[in-house]
């Protein structure tokens, strides 16, 4: 009697053992497909949301410079993404122009130059800069940076470079230049951290060979580190671009929000995300208008997705290469 009970107990335990991993497996499968599912859901929702606009405007949406959601004559709205796309390109270009060299300097300082004791704190401080919420950047941008640009930066630019169409027009402080500056401040921590990652991945032997030949820091970096990390640095720039193009809150607060294509960096303009966020509350039952905003979101998603994918693939290939190099 007692033996049969033990046998019974044993079989049930075996039974349990084979069942438990199944539950675990189900959980793991859910976990594994969560990320691809979310991506699909994003695409699906963005397409559903922008259907009305895609039907109404088609491909013309990308090239139309009008932004007339509620025409005075009561006709159908004429909406085009070009002013927003233009604003996004210009502000992102300004921000990259400012942020890329500074990020590279920060990354080189942190990975190659700073004394050992300062390295961790220096990374920590830049991480804090990345942790500041974007709406706080926006508040600071609106109440401090806008007046600062209006009083101290834009007037000399206009005075000395005013012959260029870039620096003409009335100075209010709001506009694409200020938006570019605040974007630069925001992407420096991100850009520099990716650059630091790829620079640290450069094999030690590369540096040591240079130093053994009597090279200075600068020569080592120029001839051994930078060429090796070049792909990674380009990837960092692409990733930073992906960040800058999607930044919403800080930009919306300093750019002035006007649908306009003008060469002047002083004039108020708009970017893809700033239009979406700014005009969402003005839609008031105009379905095509709402769908057009969502189609801007779809465009933004596509751009950011591709930029991040390209940057990430480059970075992961690089760390693979560096890893193989070390093990060889």
């Amino acid at each position: 009697m007692s033996t049969s009970l033990t046998t019974f107990g044993k079989t049930s335990r075996v039974h349990k053992r084979t069942r438990r991993p199944n539950l675990f497996l189900i959980l793991l499968i859910i976990a594994a497909i969560a990320i691809p599912c979310i991506t699909t859901i994003y695409l699906y929702a963005l397409f559903i949301g922008s259907t009305d606009s895609i039907r109404a405007f088609g491909l013309n949406f990308l090239f139309n410079t009008d932004w007339i959601p509620n025409p005075a004559n009561g006709g159908p709205p004429s909406l085009g993404a070009l002013p927003a796309i233009y604003g996004s390109i210009v502000t992102t270009a300004i921000s990259l122009l400012l942020a890329v060299p500074i990020s590279l300097g920060v990354a080189l300082f942190q990975s190659e130059l700073a004394p050992k004791k300062l390295r961790v704190p220096s990374v920590f401080m830049i991480e804090l800069l990345a942790a500041v919420p974007s709406v706080v950047y926006g508040l600071w941008g609106l109440l401090f940076l806008v007046p600062f640009m209006r009083d101290y930066i834009n007037p000399p630019l206009k005075q000395f470079l005013g012959f260029l169409p870039l620096f003409q027009g009335p100075i209010t402080g709001l506009g694409m230049l200020t938006a570019g500056v605040i974007l630069a401040i925001m992407i420096i921590p991100y850009g520099s951290s990716v650059m630091r990652e790829v620079i640290t991945a450069v094999p030690r032997s590369q540096r040591e060979a240079c130093i053994a030949l009597g090279a200075t820091n600068w020569e080592t970096i120029r001839t051994a580190v930078i060429p090796f990390a070049r792909t990674g640095i380009i990837a960092a720039v692409v990733l930073a671009l992906g960040r800058a193009i999607g930044e919403t809150m800080a930009v919306i607060m300093v750019i002035g929000n006007v649908a306009r294509i003008s060469p002047s960096l002083f004039l108020p303009a708009e970017t893809i995300p700033s239009v979406i966020a700014n005009e969402f509350t003005e839609v008031a039952g105009n379905n095509v208008y709402l769908a057009a905003l969502f189609e801007l979101g779809l465009i933004l998603f596509a751009i950011a997705f591709l930029m991040n994918l390209a940057g990430r693939v480059l970075v992961s290939r690089l760390s693979y290469k560096a890893g193989r190099d070390v093990s060889a």
Partner: protein, 283 residues
Amino acid sequence: MSVLSLRMRKRVTNSLFIGLATFCFLLALVPLAAILYQTIMSGYGALSLDFFTQVTPPIGGAGGGILNAIEGSLVMVAIAALIGTPLGVFTGAYLAEYPGKFAYQVRLLAEVLTGVPSIVTGIVVYVLIVSTQHRFSALSGGIALGFMMIPIVTISTHESLKLVSSSIREGALALGISRAKTTVYVLLSTARSGVITGIALAVARVMGETAPLLFTALGSQFLMTSLNDPAASMTLLIFDFGTSPYENSHVFAWGAALILLVIVLGLNIVVRTASRLKFAATE
């Protein structure tokens, strides 16, 4: 002579380079210092007992506090954590436990998703939930933030689990412990501090998000009575009050920004310091 001058030139170029890189680093920190200074200086005046115990006044109005905004932020971040933590941790565990081509692609996709602009997440949740339920709600705001948390927690969990030495995993499996138990009781508990650090940083990150809430939680002047009510948040409040033309509203926005910075940066500092101390101790 020419050797000497070449050496001089090398040294001058090198010093110039070191100076320039150091300057870049210091320059990058100027905005951090400026933002902290401005927020503390301008926000300090807004702080009072009322500021933490009253609900927000209408924009431009005097008095009131940010209780409803604090409530909204905390509730929505809690919902986000409830969604993001289990899914993120399990996905991260999957990536660490079953590496391979598919895991590589999921990891890549997770990294790409962290780079997707947060406003897009707001649109997605609006289309899927808000527009079908015909109401803005704290719940949909929390879901939007949760969507953002999943890939962040996935990556940080994966990274922490990768640090667990494979001998620990092999030892557990050699003892005949099932893979499920090994993952949960051995690997995740060994990497616990790293996993928790990742979750805390993700919480800090979504707490500072504004754009996804514009389309989901909408903002509100009142305390919420249920999760189906529109909700205020500290970030929405900073945006609404900061962009208004009224001076006293600006002070209010600075006050809220100060509280938000204290929470977000405080969380960052505490968690990063703690995990680094632990890391240094085990080294």
